[in-house]
Subunit: 452 residues, 2 copies
């Protein structure tokens, strides 16, 4: 054997996204003979299911958003790049990302696209300024400012109508996130803030959950949905089912009931959790593959092996993929990551892509917390709720949080919030307050135009 033998170039895997799909894909390639480049537009891995706790002052950003780079620090075959992906070229097998003015072209042999989804307003993008979604850390901090700021404003204003408007909170969409955030707003009003104000009584706040479907938590079935609804109502939440939101503006929103009645709800703080729109990267990929399409939400309708037609080395996973029966949840993303990396690894050993067995989703169940000590939980045909379900929620979320420190601090924070009534992360920074003030002023001027 000659010393001049040129080393075989290592197989290059590019991963787009640092959510559950992207991070788990990188981790599952730890022992593989590949070079991994993870490109993401944030520096952190976001534990989205707990974002609502950041928005309502229970957890800090750090607990649910550890730096991706630090998680992968010891994985020598992986590098992390901050940047927005602005182009994917399936023919030349490159990904172009941009940070500030620097474009970087990263070549790949295999590609895993796990770019996720953002909030959807179903074509009414002008709703967003008035009713932010809850998809990013910024969303959560913005909402924290709006939720807690509404009570502050109510304490100061001398107008009774304005006070009532500030003390009305509306959450649109009764999926897990909507249910969880509305439950925590109710707990803030009824428990946490008790006695903290002198002019207003926070427990007089109106907390409203609006859902177009006839039940809360529609995918969890009528029984658990009804349990969740009853519990929310017991906590003082007004649940409006069969109700569509037809307009959102600075002063409040307009809803339409099933019988066609239109109603106005004056409210300052609106939270949108009614739908998702997949990353635009989905369409960029689909356009380059004959026979691959996206669904209405922009998700890529992938082949049974999670790839796009004609490109067996290009996997689409997580919230960006459309596989019938796989919900847009962490479990689906993680299982997609495991599947994709398994076949990348066996491909190195010569596996023919045509022989891949189709991806099979194992439903590990789903759950939503409603209040302290109370959750609903569904595992296959098993349904349970109440304290036991809450304990299951607790254990599962602790298990999936990244890092011992984050787990420990989350437990302490939950102890303080749920057994006591403290919330450790109620700070609204000046920028958030200013953002709110600026927005208040901008919207005040825009309102006449914004109302259709």
């Amino acid at each position: 054997m000659s010393v001049s033998t040129i080393a075989r170039r290592r197989h290059r895997v590019v991963i787009i996204g640092s959510g559950f799909g992207g991070l788990f894909a990188a981790k599952h390639l730890k022992r593989a003979d590949v070079d991994v480049t993870l490109i993401a537009k944030t520096t952190h891995h976001l534990f989205q299911p707990l974002l609502y706790q950041v928005a309502t002052g229970i957890l800090s950003v750090g607990e649910i958003a550890p730096a991706t780079r630090m998680i992968l620090r010891k994985q020598k075959n992986a590098e992390v790049l901050l940047g927005d992906v602005v182009g994917i070229d399936l023919t030349n097998k490159t990904v172009t990302s941009k940070l500030m003015d620097w474009e970087r072209v990263t070549p790949f042999d295999s590609l895993i696209v796990a770019a996720g989804a953002q909030q959807s307003y179903f074509g009414n993008d002008h709703f967003e300024a008035f009713a932010p979604g809850m998809k990013t850390v910024d969303d959560a901090l913005e909402l924290r400012g709006r939720i807690l700021g509404a009570f502050e404003a109510a304490e100061v204003t001398t107008s009774q109508a304005e006070r009532e408007r500030r003390l009305t909170f509306v959450v649109v969409g009764a999926g897990p996130t909507g249910v969880e955030v509305v439950g925590q707003i109710a707990e803030l009003a009824h428990r946490t803030l008790e006695g903290a104000f002198r002019t207003i009584d926070p427990s007089e706040a109106r907390v409203i959950l609006i859902e177009a479907a006839p039940a809360v938590l529609p995918p969890m079935g009528p029984k658990l949905g009804l349990k969740a609804q009853r519990r929310l109502e017991k906590m003082g939440v007004e649940v409006m089912l069969n109700t569509m939101v037809t307009n959102v503006d600075y002063m409040g929103l307009t809803v339409k009931e099933k019988d066609g009645t239109e109603r106005r709800i004056d409210c300052a703080c609106k939270v949108w959790s009614a739908g998702v729109q997949a990353s635009p990267l989905g369409r960029i990929i689909a356009e380059q593959s004959d026979g691959t399409e996206c669904d209405r939400a922009g998700r890529v309708i992938v082949e049974p092996d999670l790839t796009v037609k004609g490109h067996p080395a290009v996997f689409v996973i997580g919230d960006l993929m459309n596989v019938p029966g796989v919900p847009g949840q962490a479990q689906g993303a993680i299982q997609g990551a495991v599947y994709a990396t398994k076949h990348i690894k066996s491909g190195l050993k010569g596996e023919d892509p045509a022989t891949r067995k189709p991806f099979k989703y194992l439903d590990k169940g789903s759950m939503a917390t409603i209040s302290r000590f109370n959750a609903v939980c569904q595992v296959g045909k098993l349904e349970f709720s109440g304290f036991l379900a809450w304990l299951a929620w607790l254990g599962l979320h602790l298990y999936y949080l990244v890092g011992g420190r984050n787990r420990l601090i989350a437990v302490i924070s939950w102890f303080v919030t749920f057994l006591g009534r403290g919330r450790g992360q109620m700070a609204i920074t000046e920028r958030w307050v200013f953002a709110r003030r600026a927005m208040d002023q901008v919207q005040e001027q825009q309102t006449p135009k914004a109302i259709g």
Copy 2:
């Protein structure tokens, strides 16, 4: 005694500010027969001495910024109002504050003004965009984005000069804050980020501390100053003494040494901790009092009883007051609060303001941490440094943090950071990244104009 006797109106105390001065003043009036209104422009009580740990990813905002309203919740005689104070009328005894469009006029019988200070650029306010100070939570989060973002940018750029510029960090001002933040930037580069990047070696970062005086920590005397300097140099910090900053722009800064030599330092991340400017409320008060003046930093030169001439019920405390020998530190503010509230209380019992004994400051010493396990400490004539001083720092800061949860989480975070090498709060939100990107672009365009 007739039932129609009208209850005597309670003495009204208005406090402006929620820092050490304002919060301790409110707390010390807990058992007094007064009504307290605390007006502040933030919703939190900021523990400023630990802001540098938020900026460098060790602590979250919540640990050092608990909600003022929650701290005072059980103090029935106190109310908390969010708002900017826009007017103080000493003749009619009212304070006017503003939140959004709502102006609120609060009458007082006694007034405690503890509105603090902000960063000063000594007339060069255009430096601020390029070199933020560290006075608010927003400053700290902005700096966290700039410090950690500089490493991210260095990893991505392909220009060697730009990489070096991004990996050069300059802290201006070698007071306690400057020393502490520069020490943590050095620890980030040399310890925390070790192995986290693939293109750059974070330990090759240049970390520079610039001070116009001939020593670091000037008020702590030459011996401790030299100790701190030696320790910083051992950690890889370049200490430039006798050096003035003459210009700051997007690309870096210009310094002038004692002999008149001007030098350019190319650097992306600049931190300003070189001076303070008192709240403009100081001048508003001084203008209404014959014979009261402000010093150059805008601090009110108060009477020996911390009041303004002719207004024995108007106290100015904390960083807004100028009393010879009292440093702008938490201790001075707390002692001022205790003094002012003591005389408000004895005033209720008929004390003649003319008989008040002058305020006497008890110097409990000062300290600064330099790195993990290393601090300098001065208590009267006693000076010590090293591990023992660090333990003293640890105990004292824990003692003054508000709330058991915050103390516990701070201890865990310090354990993780100083014994291990983790930092739990390294998340840069998209807004901070975007702010940085936007600024980068704005400044890029402004640079030709900005360079004088």
